[in-house]
Amino acid sequence: MAPSGSLMGFVHRQRRGAELFLLILALAVGIGAYAAVGIGVEGHVPADIVGYGGWLAALVVAAHVAVRIVAPYADPVLLPVVAALNGLGLAVIHRLDLASGDHTFARQQLTWMTLGVILFVLTLVVVRDHRLLQRFTYTSGLGALALLLLPLVPGVGKTINGARIWIGIGPFSFQPGEVAKVLLVVTFAGYLVLHRDALALAGRRVLFVDLPRGRDLGPVLAMWVVSLGVLVFQRDLGSSLLFFGLFLIMLYVATERPGWLVVGGLLFTAGAAAGYQLFGHVRQRFDIWLDPFDYYRQASGPHSDQLVESLFGMAWGGLLGRGFGEGSPWRISYAESDFIIGAIGEELGLTGVIAVLLLYGLIVERALRAALISRDGFGKLLATGLAAVFALQVFVVVGGVTGLIPLTGLTTPFLSYGGSSLVANWVIVALMLRVSDQARRPLPDLSTTDDEDPDVESTQVVRLP
C-alpha cells in the first residue's frame, strides 16, 4: 500500500471544531473527576470547583486557541486526549492529597500544568516548522548529555529514593532526564535522517547482519552509550530501558532493517543478564517481580510493599472500582507519582485503567499517523521517536505497577505528580502536533511533478482548488 499515493489530491480538513468539542468532553472528565473526588471523600462538591474548573478550562482553551492560530491543521484528537489525562491525573492527585491531609500536590501540579501549557504554546509558536529542529541535531545532543550529567555534579544533583536523577535549584527539584528525553529524540532523528542512506547501504555483512560503517553509526552510538552509562550510574533503570528502546526503534525506522531489532534484542538480553549479575538493585527488582509476596512486609532487606499494595489495590478495585474516596490508595507509597495507575485501578477499576490505556494508545497512534503522512524524513523520525518514547514509557511504568515486568520507576505521562515530567510531556505533544500540522497542511500548488526526492513516499503534490 502506498499511502502517499492515495493521499494525492486529498486535502486534510482542519477539524478545529471537532477538537473544541472533544476538549469540552475532556474538561467534563477533568472537572467531573474533581467534583467526584470531593463528593466521594468529603461528601460535597469542592468549594473551589468554579475557580479550579475555570482555571483548567482557561488552560485548555488557551492551548486550543494557540493550536487554532499557529497549527490549524494539527491533529484534532491529541490535545483533548492529553487534556483528559491531565485533568484526571489532577483529580486523582487531589484525592490522595485529601487522604494524606497535609499534601498540596494537586495545587502544585496545577501550577506545573500551567507552565506546561505555556511551554506548549511557546513550542508551537517558536517551532513554526519542525524541520527547524534539524539544525540543532548536535546542539540538542550535547544538551541532552549535559542535562543527564547535571545530577552527578556535586551541589546541584540530589539523590531521591536511591536514584541520583534530580537537580535542586532553590526550592525546586527537577529531573533533567525528562527534558533530555525530548532532546535525544531530536538528536537521533536529525542524525539518522542525514545518515540513513549510508547506514542502510554502506557497510559489511557480519553473520547475516549488515553492519554500518563505524563513522556513520559511531557518533550517535557513542552518545547513546554515554547516556545509558550515565543512567546506569544513576541507577535509573526505567530511563535506561526507555533510551535503549527509543534508539533501537529509531535506528530500525531510519534504516528499514529489521536486523537491528534482532541485534538490539540480543544486546538487551545480554545487558539485562549482565545487570542482573552486576547490580544488586537490578537483581532485587527482578526477584521481587518474580515473587512479590515473598518480600511483602519484610522487617529488613528488600521489600515489595509498594508493588503488593498496588496489586491488592487493583484487585480490590475489580471491574468497576471502589469509587473515588471509597478505596485506600494511600496504602501505596508514592501513589501520586510512580504508582498512580494503582490508585486509578483501585478507585476507578479495570474500566478506568483500560480507559487510560486507550487514551495513551490514542496518543501513540495519532503520533505514528502523523509520522506516516509526514512528508519529510526528519518529521517521520521525530514523530516516530516521540511516539516510541511515549509508548515505551507507558509500557514500562504500567507494566511495572501491574506486575507484568519488573518495576523500574518512571512517571506515568500526564497523570503522575511531577513537574519535570508534565512539562516535558506537554512539549512532546506540542512537537507531535507540529509534525501533524505540517503533514496535514496542504502544499502550495507547485504544478510540477518532478520526483527527484529519493524518499518517494514522503513526496506528494497537491493541487489546491
Partner: protein, 490 residues
C-alpha cells in the same frame, strides 16, 4: 520509512494489548485470590469500616455494628457477649474471625452473591455497602435457661449445653463455659485486643473453644442409647419389655481380673435376665457391655455412624467429629457399649442421638442459620430442614422412647421430670480415665415424649463438686429440665 513505522505501530499495539490483558487478569481473574490473601489489610480495613450485618436471635441482635467516631466508622458489638459467643464467634482486625462471623462472612460483609441486587442498589445510590443479616435458630428463652443453668453450677464450670428441635434440626440453645467476651476482641484498641487474644489462648480452660461442638469426651452411659438402638435394630430384641442379660458383674471376653470386670456400682440389675427398660432405668453397665459384644463391632459402629459419629453434620460452625472406634476387639467393644474406651462425643452429637430417637428415628441435620436477610430485612434465603439420616426404625425409636421415659419416671434421670409432661432422658457419668480428673457428667433428654419439641444434651467436664457427687442426673438433669421447660412453655 513507512513500512517500519507500521511495524512500530503494531509493536506498540502489542505493548498496549499486553498491558490491558495483564490489567484484566489482575483485576478480574486474579482479584478474588488477591482479595483473599492473608496479608491484605485493605480488604480487612474495608470490612472493618463497612456496616457489617447483624446476627439476630429472636427479635434482637446478638452481634451488630454500631457507628463510632473513629477511622473505622463502625464497631462490632455483642450485646450479650458471653452467652452467645460460642455461636456468634468473634470478629477481630488482626486475628480474623470465628464462629458465624467467619462462616457467614460473605453475607455479613455484603459480598454474598445472594445479596447481589442489594449491592447493585447500593452502588447506584452511591451508599456504602451494607451487609446482610443472619437470623439464627436459637431460642432466646432456651439459651437463657441453658446459660443460667450451666453457669449456676458451682465453681469455674467447664461444660456445654446443646438443645435441638428434633423435627427440624434447629439448634435452639448452645452455650459453652468458660466463655469469652468478643467485645474485647472487636475493640479498636488493638493493643488491648492483642493482650486479650493472648490471654484467651493461654488460658488452660480454653474459653475460645465451643465445647458444644468442638470438644469430644467419652459420653459414658448416655451412649447406652446407641447400644440399645443397635440391639433393637439387630432383631434380637423387639421391645422395652424384652428380657436382656443382667447381672451384677460381667467379665469382658478375653480378660481376667479387675481390669476386665464390669459392675453396676450398686444399682439393681438382677442376677441373670432383666427387662430392657429396667436395664435402661438403672443404667446397667453389665447389660449394655454384653449387648455391645452380642451385636458385634460392625453393627455397633454402623449404628453409631447412623446417628452421626465419625463425621460432622453442622455446616454453620466449626465442629469436631465424634468418634466410634472401627477396630475394637471384644473387650474394647464391651467398654465402648457403655460409652467408654475410645468412644468420644460432642454434646451436639449426643443431642442428635436424643433428637433422632425423639423424631421417630430420623436424625435431622442440625443448623444454626435460620434465615439470611438483606440489609433492609428482606428474606433472601430460609434454610430448609434436611434429613441427615434414618438412624433407627420407627418401632425401635418408640421402644427407646419408652425406656427413656421410664428412666425419668423410675430411674436415674428423675431430676428432669416436668410435671404434666412426659420426658425421656438418659444420664451418663463417664470415667475420664485419669484418677486426678473428675468424671464427666452427661445428660440427654427430650420432651414432650409424644410430640417432641426439644432435645437437650448437657455435658459438665469439670466443676467444683465433690468427686462422689458427680452424676449426670444430679447436675445435668435440672439444667436440661430448665431448657426443656423454656421451650415447651411458650
Amino acid at each position: 520509512m513507512n513500512k517500519p513505522i507500521r511495524t512500530v505501530a503494531i509493536f506498540c499495539l502489542v505493548l498496549f494489548v499486553a498491558l490491558m490483558a495483564n490489567a484484566t487478569y489482575l483485576q478480574y481473574f486474579r482479584s478474588a485470590s488477591l482479595n483473599d490473601h492473608a496479608g491484605n489489610a485493605r480488604v480487612f480495613n474495608e470490612a472493618y469500616s463497612t456496616e457489617r450485618g447483624a446476627i439476630v436471635a429472636g427479635r434482637s441482635p446478638i452481634a451488630e455494628s454500631i457507628p463510632v467516631e473513629d477511622q473505622y466508622e463502625f464497631l462490632r458489638t455483642y450485646p450479650e457477649p458471653f452467652k452467645y459467643s460460642p455461636v456468634t464467634g468473634y470478629f477481630t482486625y488482626e486475628f480474623g474471625a470465628g464462629g458465624l462471623e467467619r462462616t457467614q462472612n460473605a453475607v455479613l460483609s455484603g459480598e454474598d452473591d445472594r445479596l447481589f441486587v442489594t449491592r447493585l442498589v447500593d452502588l447506584l445510590s452511591n451508599s456504602g455497602t451494607q451487609g446482610g443479616n443472619v437470623q439464627v435458630t436459637l431460642d432466646r428463652a432456651a439459651q437463657d435457661a441453658a446459660w443460667e443453668g450451666l453457669t449456676g453450677v458451682p465453681g469455674d464450670v467447664e461444660g456445654a449445653v446443646v438443645a435441638l428441635e428434633p423435627k427440624t434440626g434447629k439448634v435452639l440453645a448452645m452455650v459453652s463455659s468458660p466463655s469469652y467476651n468478643p467485645n474485647k476482641l472487636a475493640s479498636h484498641d488493638f493493643g488491648e485486643v492483642r493482650k486479650e487474644w493472648a490471654r484467651l489462648n493461654d488460658d488452660p480452660a480454653e474459653p475460645l473453644l465451643n465445647r458444644g461442638t468442638q470438644k469430644t469426651l467419652p459420653p459414658g452411659s448416655t451412649f447406652k442409647l446407641v447400644t440399645a438402638a443397635a440391639a433393637l435394630e439387630s432383631g434380637s430384641y423387639a421391645s422395652a419389655d424384652d428380657q436382656v442379660p443382667g447381672g451384677s458383674t460381667y467379665q469382658l471376653p478375653l480378660t481376667s481380673g479387675d481390669t476386665g470386670l464390669i459392675d453396676n456400682e450398686g444399682r439393681s440389675c438382677g442376677t441373670d435376665r432383666i427387662p430392657f427398660s429396667q436395664a435402661m432405668e438403672q443404667s446397667c453397665n453389665t447389660t449394655f457391655a454384653r449387648l455391645a459384644v452380642e451385636v458385634g463391632a460392625d453393627a455397633m459402629r454402623e449404628q453409631a455412624e447412623a446417628f452421626g459419629f465419625n463425621s460432622t453434620a453442622l455446616e454453620d460452625l466449626p465442629e469436631a467429629a465424634s468418634t466410634f472406634p472401627d477396630d475394637a476387639n471384644e473387650p474394647q467393644l464391651g467398654q465402648s457399649g457403655i460409652g467408654q474406651f475410645d468412644v468420644r462425643a460432642t454434646p451436639l452429637q449426643m443431642a442428635m442421638v436424643a433428637a433422632g430417637i425423639a423424631n421417630n428415628g430420623v436424625v435431622m441435620r442440625p443448623y444454626v442459620v435460620d434465615e439470611v436477610q438483606s440489609a433492609d430485612l428482606d428474606v433472601v434465603e430460609t434454610t430448609q430442614p434436611e434429613e441427615y439420616s434414618e438412624a433407627v426404625s420407627g418401632p425401635t425409636a418408640s421402644e427407646l422412647t419408652k425406656m427413656m421415659v421410664a428412666t425419668v419416671e423410675d430411674g436415674t434421670a428423675s431430676p428432669a421430670a416436668i410435671p404434666g409432661v412426659s420426658v425421656g432422658a438418659k444420664t451418663g457419668t463417664a470415667q475420664s480415665g485419669q484418677d486426678d480428673v473428675a468424671p464427666y457428667a452427661w445428660f440427654v433428654s427430650f420432651a414432650p415424649a409424644d410430640d417432641p419439641e426439644v432435645a437437650v444434651a448437657v455435658m459438665i467436664e469439670s466443676a467444683a463438686i465433690e468427686r462422689g457427687e458427680i452424676g449426670g442426673g444430679r447436675i445435668g438433669g435440672p439444667i436440661a429440665k430448665a431448657v426443656m421447660e423454656a421451650v415447651i412453655k411458650k
